[in-house]
Amino acid sequence: MSTLEVRNLVKEFKVRDGLRRSTLRAVNDVSFTLSAGRTVAVVGESGSGKSTVARMIAQLETPTSGEILLDDAAIGRRGRALADYRHQVQMVFQDPFASLNPYHSVEHHLARPLKLHGVARGKDVLPAVYGLLERVNLTPAPVFAEKRPHEMSGGQRQRIAIARALAPGARFLVADEPVSMLDVSIRLGVLNLLARLQREENLGVLYITHDLATARHFSDEIVVMYRGDVVEQGPSDEVILDPQHDYTKTLLAAAPEPSRHGRLRDEVRAELAAG
């Protein structure tokens, strides 16, 4: 079974504050494994290091120490080996407005990875582009292929981003907060799409988010991060329904929960009455 394993990953950034230089440890000893057909969610607030982990796996950053193993072999970082890695591991970015180049059409965005990774050539490229658009439910495909990013809604752009990530025929997908910048009623559709594609392609998905609810229902395993450290890790339902670490408990208590209607007000009233 194909696996993408992350072992003892550490990332330090040099920070300059005036004349002083210090090191910021954004990611401190993170380990988990992605397997085909399963989703791992990395949950945390801003500054937790979750996006940095995603970027390291996408090879947009180099780890300070630790290893990333694809099918138990150390990943290649340059030349042919890097190209192979890129063929297998792709990424969907958070901001649908920023992840597509405003100058290029949808067709360009999708055709490039198809050609780069030898998935389609010459006159096979356009049908392949249309095929991708249909897989992400953007039909009629020829109409969408000609559009530019600013002519589409956030949800549509994100679907293009997903199609682009699928184009090379990747086995692993890193989704960095894929729906947090989308309108609420569209999020469900995009996550459903990701779930379907995962099933159909047997993808291993890394789902980065700050939203515990979607993390729980979308993924099989949850890794909770706080300030660079992994504070809790385990099967989704267990982490959510039976949290062990205090931070996880705080996160769960802080999430809006409609069934707790009025509780905050009662707490505040009691607090003011007492003190």
Partner: protein
């Protein structure tokens, strides 16, 4: 005006009963706001809304539905090319007088704004002036609206305001970039509280904040409400949040309020299909849910 009669938002009997026991503080009737672009865009269409003393009214909807535009309209803060096409907005003061907000202008409008109705803006984190200290910005509000205060009194009031929102008065001399996101938001709330208004309109006040910080800010808002008994219009797309903290919720879509009900009613039995769609977009943390592929054409 449009020829079709608008049926008004879906509501329930429980809502009517709930509302009957309350006193209105801000009434909006048939408000329409249009963006004068080519072709003109109706951002808010014939919206009628009543805010009652001391309540939290949630205004829920996605981007582009007109909720922020409506809030700006109620406060007479519309920026070109937005124009208030029609409608009446009445403020029912605690001392018994009624003010026609639409008719205000000049000094009267300035006196009304911030003193009776204040606002915490969207992107409040970036609404603080980066080159002025917190003290300077707070004092600015006081010098404009309470010119009678002496300098010491102003300083004391500023310190008091920061304490009220849970920020150490030592921070009066800090600048915006030296404060965390949560702290900046608290400062914005302090500014909005400065004149002890009767209504506070909050436009997505916690959207960009982490969930833990968000809860702290909400707690602070609740505390202030218990103390000063102001009404809140809480604008956000986060429906579960409103379901937890709001008394009543108005759901907006395409410039209209499609459903208006108490939070409990909305959670238990939402009537409008759009409300139901919105609710279904937020899977319950503790309940059951699964992402399946029964979805339609790409949106």
């Amino acid at each position: 005006m449009t020829a079709t009669t608008t049926a008004g938002p879906l509501s329930s009997a429980a809502h009517a009963e709930h509302v009957a026991r309350l006193t209105p503080v801000l009434t909006a009737h048939d408000v329409s706001i249009e963006y004068e672009v080519d072709p003109p865009v109706r951002a808010v269409q014939g919206v009628s809304l009543t805010l009652h003393r001391g309540e939290i009214l949630g205004l829920a909807g996605e981007s582009g539905c007109g909720k922020s535009t409506l809030a700006y309209g109620l406060n007479r803060l519309l920026k070109d090319p937005a124009v208030l096409r029609s409608g009446e907005v009445t403020f029912h003061d605690a001392d018994g007088t009624d003010t026609d907000v639409v008719a205000l202008d000049g000094d009267a409008l300035r006196a009304f704004r911030w003193d009776k109705v204040s606002m915490v803006f969207q992107g409040a984190m970036n609404s603080l002036n980066p080159v002025l200290s917190v003290r300077a910005q707070l004092e600015d509000v006081l010098t404009t609206h309470r010119p009678g205060l002496s300098r010491t009194e102003r300083g004391e009031r500023c310190a008091e305001l920061l304490e009220m929102v849970g920020v150490d008065p030592v921070r009066l001399d800090s600048f915006a970039h030296e404060l965390s996101g949560g702290m900046r938001q608290r400062v914005m709330i302090a500014m909005a509280m400065a004149l002890e208004p009767q209504v506070m309109i909050m436009d997505e006040p916690t959207t960009a904040l982490d969930v833990v910080v968000q809860r702290d800010i909400l707690r602070e808002i609740m505390r202030l409400r218990e103390r000063f008994d102001f009404a809140v219009v809480f604008i956000t797309h986060d429906l579960p949040l409103l379901l937890e903290i709001a008394d009543r919720i108005a759901v907006m879509r395409s410039g209209e309020i499609v459903e208006l009900d108490t939070a409990e009613q909305l959670y238990a039995a939402a009537q409008h299909e759009y409300t139901q769609t919105l609710l279904s977009s937020f899977p319950s943390l503790l309940g059951d849910f699964s992402y399946d592929d029964g979805e339609g054409a790409g949106r």
